[in-house]
């Protein structure tokens, strides 16, 4: 996508109900910034689809929400170069056969995405009970890197270890990979759990996440996209921005806002409230990312 992104189109899109958020150090309002001419691209982040979840009070359209999201991503006018799923693709189960069936169904549904480059990673629901074995059969490695138009993407697995840790071996791997990057390289980290202590009381943390942040700290342009907490959250650890995505199955309340960590019940007056996905615009010239949030629309009839 080497053409200039249409600014009016972007404005139109974001004004439909999306939230625009700018990461990085700039305090300037998002839309006052000029768009770069080269290497700009979009990628879509979807998260916590929990395929196989059942609970009519939380999501009476448990079998339809993901399908709607796929349709909506396909209808985006700002076409993404690729799509990432930041974990909890499926709802966990003790039965390996059921896990396999869920992963197979999930794969079939997201196979309908027009964008053919899709990067997956596990959440604890996918991988914590069998250390990622079944997941790997379906989706491949749980941590890996890829490069896209000058941005280095690193996927970190903090769920195959049921303690919610990255582990020394993977941290070594991360260190080796980062050793090949320059201080001003554009680095995007994709992971499931927050790397920082967002709210450890609800297990919204990674036990050794601080070690990963320490390794990333020397790099000037690092942004982290993650899932797990089933809502948007924007947080800075030093100059590193962390953005969590909404879930496509069950929204969660603000950290500590309810006595128990329980999903927000379905709202009949506002169906799909709290669910959605995001389109991320990567702007090479600004070393920044603009996030547009998309709700799930009821009329995305499938």
């Amino acid at each position: 996508m080497n053409k200039e992104i249409d600014r009016r189109e972007f404005l139109k899109l974001t004004s439909i109900g999306g939230v625009v958020f700018i990461s990085g150090l700039s305090g300037q309002p998002a839309l006052s910034l000029p768009f770069g001419k080269t290497k700009d691209f979009f990628f879509v982040q979807l998260s916590d689809t929990h395929w196989g979840f059942e609970g009519a009070k939380i999501n009476p359209d448990a079998k339809g929400t993901l399908i709607k999201a796929v349709k909506e991503v396909n209808s985006l006018e700002q076409k993404p170069d690729f799509i990432v799923f930041t974990g909890d693709l499926t709802q966990t189960t003790d039965e390996t056969n059921l896990r396999k069936a869920r992963m197979k169904e999930f794969k079939q549904i997201v196979g309908e995405l027009d964008t053919k480059v899709v990067h997956f990673m596990p959440g604890e629901h996918d991988a914590s009970l069998d250390r990622g074995e079944t997941y790997k059969d379906f989706f491949g490695e749980t941590h890996y890197t890829f490069d896209h138009k000058g941005v280095h993407f690193i996927t970190i697995d903090n769920v195959s270890d049921p303690t919610g840790s990255i582990g020394e071996e993977q941290l070594e791997w991360l260190k080796t990979d980062l050793a090949q990057q320059k201080p001003d390289s554009n680095i995007v980290v994709l992971t499931h759990r927050p790397l920082f202590d967002l709210y450890p009381q609800w297990d919204w943390a990674t036990r050794d996440g601080a070690k990963a942040i320490d390794l990333l700290m020397p790099f000037q342009n690092v942004t982290v996209f993650y899932g797990h907490i089933h809502q948007e959250n924007h947080h800075m650890t030093g100059h590193i921005a962390h953005h969590s995505a909404k879930s496509l199955m069950l929204p969660m309340p603000l950290a500590g806002s309810t006595p128990k960590r329980q999903p927000i019940p379905w709202s009949t007056s506002e169906p799909y409230k709290g669910m959605g996905f995001r389109n991320v615009l990567s702007q090479s010239k600004l070393d920044q990312y603009q996030l547009s949030e998309y709700p799930i629309k009821e009329d995305a009839i499938v």
């Binding site: 966990t92 189960t93 914590s128 049921p162």
Partner: protein, 119 residues
């Protein structure tokens, strides 16, 4: 397996028996037994007195679970076939949530409880 657990329990009990009978540990702290299973702790609410030392003794009925009280900086792995001990002398009154931080299945997110510290 059952036998081994039994022996461990007896051994632990006899060690404590040397200095104190029944409810107190070697150094005089009150013993609080907490048993874990998917997806609950028993008891779910533990009331302690500020300044009074206690020893938690954790066991699990099924698989490995965690016990984490972030606001007290206290955590343990609860491993099958073993009694895990944790010492605590609460310094502050209030309510402190604990939860399982080792993923244990569908229902894991609801596995939690509360420590209440009174004057």
């Amino acid at each position: 397996m059952k036998n081994r657990t039994g022996i461990t329990a007896i051994m632990v009990a006899s060690v404590f028996g040397m200095t104190c009978l029944g409810c107190l540990s070697g150094d005089g702290a009150k013993i609080i037994k907490v048993s874990a299973k998917r997806f609950e702790y028993s008891p779910q609410q533990i009331t302690l007195k500020k300044g009074t030392p206690v020893v938690f003794q954790f066991t699990t009925e099924d698989r490995t679970h965690g016990f984490n009280v972030p606001s007290m900086n206290l955590r343990a792995d609860i491993v099958p076939g073993k009694i895990t001990e944790l010492k605590l002398t609460p310094q502050q009154t209030g309510e402190f949530d604990f939860f399982c931080d080792i993923f244990c299945g569908s229902g894991h997110e609801g596995m939690n409880g509360k420590i209440i510290v009174t004057e």
